[in-house]
Subunit: 344 residues, 2 copies
DNA sequence: TTGAAAGCGCTAACAA
DNA sequence: TTGTTAGCGCTTTCAA
């Protein structure tokens, strides 16, 4: 491993000059010197030492990608198809932008801040972290941060977030379900915070705008713990008569439910209509083809990196809060109550 | 951000002492000093600077996790459920072991070596990299490396790999298929190298051991490019009469095929039996329940980190090459040709 | 039991 | 246009 100093000695110039040439600061370097330096760098297959660089500049070109830590193994952040798609996109874009990606999961603000400081991380991308923690992190560090799917309302501090048109898209999808003759529609999720709350709101608004009665009775909470999920589905199964359509806040649960019904001889959409959200790998590969709201996680990942890099380059952002658009994927799991068909 | 030196000044000891206490080298430090140091460290919320540490020791506690780079976005390494599960497990275990995870994808040996050197990475975990490149990397660096699913046969150099009983499990599964009365069984995959070749071998051996004729005619190549995959499936559809069972080298393709058949009115397993491999999130969530070979990616990830950490601690490994066991998941997609049933 | 000093590789301020 | 020097924060050797 050659060092800058060694190369400088070899060609009889100063380390400063070598460093300058390496970093393209060649305005004040003679053409001849430039070529000499380029040559040694190449001949010796020079590889920069980032730790030394980081120490000297207090900036590492590392971007910390922080995911929410989940105790439950099957909910291990990366396993969720939505998260893994984003992680993949982040890796690609971070690398292409000339940064390095440190992946870390945590549910603890202190740990996240510590990681940031320990590695002199240049920026942070926070994924699936609770709004409250996001806010707390934002307050405690000056580092560039981009959030994904994080909304905090109760504060004046500006923050950069890449989100989705959650409310609008569930609103639109609910309208579609209604247009197929449904009025008894349930909304199902495993929580009522963050994006899931937004999605509930869109759903709720659509019913309201159609003067369809909607109360907390329409909300069904699913348990995210795998073993307990079946109990939730069993309960759902027994209430099935109350509804003609079920709007799940994620494909994952939609499919779990479809399978649960299938195993009990209940057919989708003949006996009950089902809608999901995400159009993830699961949603895209099931029969009957799932009617769902498509979001593009890669797009979110790309935008997050783009925003972060802009901040790091001190460029002005055209907008702080991006809402990526979603798309209704009308397929085969909603029955048309007027004519009995379900295929588009 | 306090530094060791600052803290040393505050309590009137040397940086050396502070550093020693921080790292538990307290054999030769008085109890009183230890307590003093512990106190300042706590009071000042000291956070170590890893770049400085790395520079001084030439070791960073970073573990580079390298995945194969895929041009095609939908095949983006992390999106594959198998890979994302492993990545999740790796993140957890690396963090728990007190290391940091740098995630990087590449299909270029030079780049991987460069990353390693740039960050003074302590160790490497290579995932899905071609054997040839693995070998080349192994030769060019002294760093600790653990491979996942990488086999190179033609060389004497010892290497550490975490693999699966690919051959044995396809052998067993093929025996099971045969036991259900099938003799016309195809094997399908998108390549014939690495694990897929191993799986083919197991399949082949089982047929041979039953004196069932098996030639290259039994092998059907699937195209991995999403747009072209359908063409492969269309071809398959037309050859369907030649076989009674299809053994796919991965759940992903098994499910793509099942859906393709479904859309053409062909029922699994009534019209054709299907078997997958992986039991991934897709395989686990489809109806009819997929008969497949279950491998546990988390286990692979955990073992890989365990092996790597052992190497880094200079511990002797009990074995270099681990073959994690797989499990046959006999479910509902293979028809019993003797009595016509298919459910277990 | 403790401390002084040198050095890891690089960058930046300043001088020449 | 180029070079000297100091310093980033930490560890390690050796001396006290």
């Amino acid at each position: 491993m050659v060092t800058i100093k060694e190369m400088a000695d070899k060609i009889g110039v100063s380390p400063t000059t070598v460093s300058n040439v390496i970093h393209g600061k060649t305005k004040e370097v003679s053409q001849q010197t430039i070529e000499m330096v380029m040559q040694v760098v190449k001949d010796n297959n020079y590889i920069p030492n980032m730790s030394a660089r980081t120490l000297a500049q207090n900036s590492s070109r590392i971007i910390g990608v922080i995911m929410k830590y989940h105790q439950i193994e099957e909910k291990n952040a990366v396993q969720d198809p939505f998260h893994s798609e984003i992680i993949g996109a982040l890796e690609t874009k971070i690398r292409e932008a000339g940064y390095y990606m440190m992946l870390y999961s945590s549910d603890n603000v202190e740990d996240i801040l510590k990681l940031t400081a320990t590695w002199s991380v240049d920026g942070l991308i926070l994924l699936g972290i609770h709004a409250h923690d996001c806010q707390s992190i934002k307050k405690q560090t000056e580092k560039a941060i981009v959030f994904i799917d994080c909304y905090f309302y109760d504060d004046g501090i500006p923050y950069v977030n890449v989100g989705l048109e959650d409310m609008k898209s569930t609103y639109d999808m609910t309208n579609y379900i209604i247009s197929q003759g449904h009025t008894k529609i349930a909304f199902l999720s495993d929580n009522r915070i963050g994006v899931d709350e937004e999605r509930w709101k869109g759903y709720y608004q659509a019913l309201k705008d159609h003067n369809i009665n909607c109360s907390e009775e329409n909300y069904i909470k699913l348990d995210s713990v795998p073993e307990v999920l079946n109990a939730s589905l069993e309960k759902l199964y027994h209430r099935i008569g109350e509804f003609t359509a079920l709007f799940f806040a994620s494909d994952f649960y939609a499919i779990k439910a479809i399978n649960y019904f299938y195993d009990r001889g209940l057919k989708v959409p003949d006996d009950i209509s089902v809608v999901g959200f995400d159009d993830n790998i699961l949603g895209r590969n099931i029969r009957p083809r799932l009617t769902t709201v498509r979001q593009n996680p890669s797009e979110k990942g790309e935008l997050a990196v783009k925003q972060l890099v802009s901040i790091l380059n001190n460029e002005k952002l055209d907008r702080n809060n991006i809402r990526v658009s979603a798309k209704l994927m009308i397929r085969d799991t909603v029955k048309n109550l007027y004519n009995g068909t379900s295929t588009v």
